[in-house]
């Protein structure tokens, strides 16, 4: 059985994700005035259309192409020794140390601790009326599911199909879909954990919420 507390401790020891930036193709590299340790930012604005920090420029066939930071973080490596040289594709240019946010840590833990029941195709999903009543009446954490149980209705262009749950028995910990919203195929619909694991997960999530505050 997965030890969630240990998992959290291991994340806390190194709450970072190192992102290695590589060249998309061959070309000649040049670098802007950036030093190791500098703070860089990823794409911003509501639609993520404002580009991130410029890390390097890769020029091939007189076509300079910017290499931009994909995430917020600290620049821990910048291979300025490659400046002016011709490099192969997939050459490491820089490494960004991205500090994990609270949502990301929660996501990592839940991904490992929960069984995710995924959408078989792109459609809108609803709970069956009985399930819906139960979920509204009580907390979803107390709603039990078992393999083969009729759980959801898949609705696409007014075509409604009843969907049976397949997976380990347990309780619904998280619901990932919203009313009247299309869910892509393969996206998680619900996260299920065993009754025994529930207190441990709740405690860890609570710890994350308090300990990651302000980071």
């Amino acid at each position: 059985m997965l030890n969630i507390s240990e998992l959290l401790e291991s994340i806390k020891e190194s709450p970072y994700r190192d992102i290695v930036i590589r060249t998309p193709h061959t070309g000649c590299l040049s670098f802007p005035d950036l030093a190791i340790g500098a703070e860089v930012h990823g794409p911003s604005s509501q639609w993520k259309n404002k580009p991130g920090t410029l890390l390097a420029t890769l020029e091939r066939e007189r076509n300079p192409k910017p290499i931009l930071a994909p995430e917020k973080g600290e620049l821990v490596e910048l291979h300025t020794e490659l400046a002016g040289t011709f490099v192969e594709a997939q050459t490491a240019v820089a490494t960004i140390r991205h500090r994990l946010t609270r949502e990301e840590v929660e996501h990592i833990i839940l991904q490992k601790a929960l069984f995710l029941f995924r959408a078989p195709e792109r459609a809108k999903y609803y709970f069956t009326p009985e399930m819906d009543k139960k979920i509204h009446a009580t907390e979803s954490h107390s709603v039990k599911v078992r393999d083969g149980m009729e759980l959801l209705i898949m609705s696409r262009m007014k075509r409604e199909v009843h969907l049976q749950y397949s997976g380990p028995d347990g309780v619904i910990y998280a619901i990932y879909f919203k009313y009247n919203e299309n869910i892509d195929a393969g996206a998680p619909l619900i996260g299920v954990c065993t009754q025994e694991q529930l207190p441990a997960i709740q405690e860890v999530i609570m710890r994350i919420k308090t300990e990651w505050a302000g980071r």
């Binding site: 193709h25 604005s45 509501q46 639609w47 259309n49 091939r60 066939e61 007189r62 076509n63 192409k65």
Partner: protein, 750 residues
């Protein structure tokens, strides 16, 4: 204890002081300090009962205020006028309705419970007398309502649906046959694209007003750009002496002149400089001929307590409506008599009743007069360097072509159709008979062909690559095809497009990404040479030259550079051409000439082209390689092209012409909001952007962030602004098809 009446008068003086300080924004501090000190001292004395005759003292205090206001009135600058019309104490439309008209009923919403509270529509009545008889004359009053600082009024910045509402009630007035009084009090239109779309709705309004069969009087207080044009194409345009009428707000002009980026603010000096050089005042516009009359306001501008001003306004509005009605009279003698009677300064218009209804004939004359009036405007602002010989020859040829075309199309074509139908029917019968007759011979021939299957083999074989004829596909290639470099498609992150080699991209691919279909911008020449039949393009009016009619500082040099760079004298090229033998007139706006901005010269060329298309009965294509809007450095000379060119388009369409617009690269602002947006057939080249204002302006005026690709042609298509999107390589074929399918019985083609 202070008398309540005195208290009220003190408050009024305090408000006048605040107003004075606000409109001069720190200037003339000596005068405002003096008034402040005097008023404070008077109030203090009054409260401590040191004043023996408060009524005399307050009267002399009011006289002092009036004296200072009169003194400062002569030093009001253009920017001060902008602050005057935007001040919450400025008269608003409701004040006018209450004081100028006898009664009124607000229609189309009330206060904040309205589709758009920034536009106010009312059915109002003016009561006049003749002898013992009383006449109630109804009018439709439409105007932007700023309110006295009411936030929901949005400063008179009308949303697209507000302008649509205005148009709706103009149509109601037309049905009822009553005059329309438009009060223009807007800093500009609210620049959003939601249906019906800022630009497209203004275009519909201008187009509608160009043919509205009732008298329209426009009274301009704040005439801000396209928003003003949406309700100001009128038979008579009157301006309030302290108002402004401009192509762009001085702040907007300063942002462009100062090359400011998003979020940066222009300095007050630069804004003042722009306001001065844009020539936005009533006096300037009367000089240019874009307004017919100025109504003098009280010193420092009219405020709600200036009742004498409302009386003057009422007289002038009645006079203007009467004059328009009189101008449509068919009998010259009666017309002159009535005009003379009204021209007398002592004439009491309250007792000079004139019926405001028009006969069918008078309505037609009214529309014709309005259209001619606008077509005459701004001719001197464009530098027409056509040789006299050419002008004379053109005039002479029109004397011959006009009757010839009338004979050819109005008489001969009518009978020709009957003959053609008869011949076609005979031909069909003959073909059927021939088919049956030759049937045995075809069977025999088909047997021989089956044996010789060489053609089929050739189709199955691999293509030959012995000679690279790929580049011969186009008559003209962009000069960029000679540059050995690769380019990255802007959609590469999304669609994974690989880099494109320049010579391929700008040669064979015609600037189209072969992975996602993104269209890189191409030169105007590419279209001229590749869309139309080879050697069929004949340019005309190339001698009409863009200039600097307002002597805007440093602008001569910038225009000269644009002319050198493009090798043309203006941003609009007009030519006659053929597509698969179909003759067509084209007006092309080049995005490479100062962003494709439209000034007096471009407008003049467009109008001439529309008139030529009408005369020759050819289809008319406006190809917009790119346009950034009206040329702000030409001020109202550029702005007036919006109604002017739309009038030309309306006359052309009503004469039976087929007007097609094709947008490419970026098309924004004034032209889209007038003579382009009014076309019933608008198409766009793929990857182009169409809209009213760019993202920066939208952010600044509305505070909204807009999503990327907000103005993309696909969005415009989804909103219903355009009718289709064409691939650049298919423009010729699509145009050909459009001319053949849309061009019908009553449209000019071939």
């Amino acid at each position: 204890m202070i008398d309540n009446n005195i208290e009220k008068r003190i408050v009024a003086l305090q408000e006048r002081l605040i107003y004075l300080k606000d409109i001069f924004a720190g200037k003339h501090a000596d005068d405002s300090d003096l008034l402040q000190d005097r008023l404070a001292s008077f109030s203090r004395k009054l409260r401590s009962d040191e004043v023996s005759d408060p009524y005399t003292d307050i009267a002399s205090m009011e006289d002092l205020f009036s004296y200072v206001e009169s003194k400062l009135d002569s030093s009001v600058t253009a920017m001060d006028r902008v602050r005057i019309v935007r001040h919450p104490q400025r008269i608003c439309l409701r004040d006018i309705l209450e004081n100028v008209y006898d009664t009124f009923t607000e229609v189309g919403g009330q206060d904040e419970y309205s589709l758009d509270p920034s536009i106010l529509i009312a059915r109002a009545v003016i009561t006049r007398h003749r002898g013992k008889k009383t006449y109630h004359q109804p009018v439709m009053v439409i105007g932007q309502e700023k309110g006295h600082g009411a936030e929901f009024r949005n400063g008179g910045s009308v949303k697209p649906w507000g302008n649509a509402k205005a148009m709706q009630f103009m149509r109601v007035a037309e049905t009822e046959g009553i005059p329309i009084h438009c009060y223009v009090c807007t800093p500009g239109s609210f620049p959003i694209e939601d249906y019906p779309g800022a630009a497209q709705q203004i275009a519909r309004n201008i187009y509608g007003m160009a043919g509205l069969r009732v008298p329209i009087i426009a009274i301009i207080s704040e005439g801000g750009s396209g928003g003003a044009e949406a309700i100001s194409l009128a038979d008579k345009r009157i301006m309030l002496s302290h108002g402004y009428y401009s192509v762009i707000s001085p702040e907007g002009a300063a942002a462009i002149e100062g090359h400011l980026k998003e979020g940066e603010r222009a300095s007050s000096e630069l804004i003042e400089h722009c306001a001065e050089n844009l020539h936005i005042t009533a006096k300037d516009n009367l000089g240019f001929g874009y307004i017919d009359q100025i109504i003098q306001e009280p010193p420092l501008g009219a405020r709600p307590w200036h009742f004498e001003f409302f009386r003057t306004l009422r007289q002038e509005v009645i006079r203007a409506t009467d004059e328009v009605i009189i101008s449509t009279r068919a009998l010259p003698l009666l017309k002159t008599l009535a005009q003379n009677r009204h021209a007398r300064p002592t004439a009491n218009l309250e007792h000079l009743y004139i019926h405001w209804g028009l006969s069918a004939g008078a309505r037609s004359r009214l529309v014709a007069l309005r259209q001619k009036k606008f077509l005459r405007l701004s001719r001197s602002a464009a530098s027409d360097k056509r040789p006299m010989y050419n002008k004379v020859m053109e005039l002479l040829s029109s004397y011959i072509t006009k009757p010839w075309n009338s004979f050819k199309y109005d008489f001969y074509r009518k009978h020709q159709r009957k003959i053609q139908t008869f011949v076609e029917e005979i031909d069909n019968e003959w073909e059927t008979f021939k088919y049956r007759l030759l049937s045995p011979w075809r069977k025999f021939k088909h047997g021989i062909e089956k044996k010789n299957n060489a053609k089929g083999e050739a189709l199955m074989a691999l293509s030959e690559w012995t000679k690279d004829s790929r580049r011969k596909k186009w008559n003209y290639l962009s000069p960029r095809y000679k540059i050995d470099k690769t380019l990255t498609c802007p959609n590469s992150a999304e669609y994974g497009c690989l880099d494109l080699w320049g010579p391929d991209l700008f040669g064979e691919f015609a600037g189209v990404c072969s992975y996602c279909g993104y269209h890189f911008p191409m030169e105007p020449e590419w279209y001229v040479r590749n869309v139309f039949d080879k050697d069929s393009v004949i340019e005309f009016n190339s001698e009409i030259e863009a200039g600097n009619p307002l002597s805007f500082p440093n602008f001569d040099e910038r225009i000269r550079k644009a002319q050198e760079k493009n090798g043309t004298r203006s941003g609009c090229m007009t030519f006659e051409a053929r597509i698969a033998g179909i003759k067509i007139i084209v007006a092309m706006f080049m995005g490479t000439f100062r962003g494709g901005s439209v000034g007096a010269a471009e407008g003049c060329k467009f109008v001439e082209a529309a008139e030529r298309a009408t005369k020759n009965r050819y289809p008319f294509l406006a190809y917009v390689h790119g346009t950034a809007g009206m040329r702000i450095q030409e001020g109202t000379h550029a702005l007036i092209q919006m109604p002017r060119c739309t009038v030309a388009v309306r006359r052309y369409i009503e004469a039976g012409g087929l007007y097609v617009v094709l947008y490419d690269t970026n098309s924004f602002a004034g032209p889209v909001a007038s003579f382009l947006g009014c076309s019933p057939y608008q198409f766009a080249v793929r990857s182009s952007n169409i809209g009213f204002a760019g993202p920066g302006v939208i952010k600044e005026t509305t505070g909204m962030d807009i999503p990327p690709r907000y103005h993309r042609s696909t969005e415009a298509l989804a909103r219903g602004h355009i009718q289709g999107i064409w691939d650049r390589r298919q423009i010729r074929a699509n145009l050909k098809q459009a001319l053949r399918t849309i061009g019908g019985r009553n449209l000019y083609y071939r």
